[in-house]
Amino acid sequence: MDRQKINNIDKPATRKRGNRLGFWFFEMFIRISGLYGAYGFLYIVSLYYIIFDKEAVYSAKPYIEKRFPQSGYFKKYLHIYRLFISQGRQLIDRFSVICSKKDVFDLKLNGYEKLKNIIQESEKGLILLTSHFGNWQIALTALNKLDKKVFLLMREEDNQAVRDFLNVGNEKGDINIISPEQEFGGVIEIVNALSKGHIVSIMGDRRYGSKASKVNFLGDYAYFPYSAFAIAASAKCPVVVLLAAKNSAHEYVVDVTNVLYPQCSRRKKDIELVPWLQQYADILEEFANRYPYQCFLFHDIWKDE
């Protein structure tokens, strides 16, 4: 049978960075030096990656070249360096929350009341569209107070840190995993969860082998997967775009104000869903313009796979 991908199915082509020893070292470092000490250490670590990890630099280039088209050779590398530092800070933030098991950061939630009303008014669930922009893992924890069961569409084995952080697998936790590495890419479980009023979180900005449509993003045509929108259209439920930006040293702004209601009645989903995909791309572009160093795509989405 066909194993058409919905999302996150293919193994990433890039090698995984970090190991148990590295995590242990970082945990100790955060405990001893505090958050700012760990941030400072990032300047050295990021420099190492800039010089020695060509793969990491190469994967960051497409976004940087689109976001900063006027930059020369050295300026480009400076942007990539800043992007690495920014990503490192957000990884440390996630890690410090895991280690301390308490609220280290203030989470300002925009659009919470709107989201709460949508949930109350509809018997159906909703699709939470996450992206490689900002810190979506921290964003998800902000939604704990909705008191809804959340399903994440993601490969299990690659995300132990995320699982720990989000309390996945813990009986008291409200987050469950739907693996896309199964027959029909997990859609049966997704539709069932939505019909029972649960929240299903799907990454919307990288296709990982799934079908995609071209939309305008940062001045050029990029390929965005449309499966999340197609599922929402079939299940007749809304798509809520979830974004979380680090606003200051101890504050994240979590935004759920953008709610989309995709519709497509016919077979040409790749064409019919483009208006909603474009809206999503516009939301991401606005985010990238506002927070240029919090876009962690690390993939050339402007190139067809």
Binding site: M1, D2, R3, Q4, K5, I6, Q182, E183, F184, G185, G186, V187, I188, E189, I190, V191, N192, S195, K211, S227, A230, I231, S234, A235, S265, R266, R267, K269
Partner: protein, 87 residues
């Protein structure tokens, strides 16, 4: 409804909900494989079938293991509907 009626209805519903162009109900074989090499459906089409079963027959496909068996062909789909809607 007997099995023949369910097969016919399922073919019509599939054509309508998946907007299969230039295909008549009689063009779909009862044992034709629906996904992959057969009718060529993919996982987004599986979404439509799950929803179709919920809306038209009030049936829920529990998981992918069950779905794999049920979604094999029109015959397996019809058998599932027949066995689970009999009163």
């Amino acid at each position: 409804m007997n099995l023949d009626d369910i097969r016919k209805l399922l073919k019509e519903l599939l054509i309508e909900s998946l907007s299969l162009e230039d295909i008549e109900p009689d063009d779909i074989g009862d044992d034709e494989i629906l996904f992959g090499e057969g009718l060529g459906l993919d996982s987004l089409d599986a979404v439509e079938i799950v929803v179709l079963l919920q809306r038209n027959f009030g049936l829920e496909v529990k998981d992918m293991n069950q779905g794999k068996e049920i979604f094999y062909s029109i015959n397996t789909l019809a058998k599932y509907v027949y066995e689970n809607t009999r009163t």
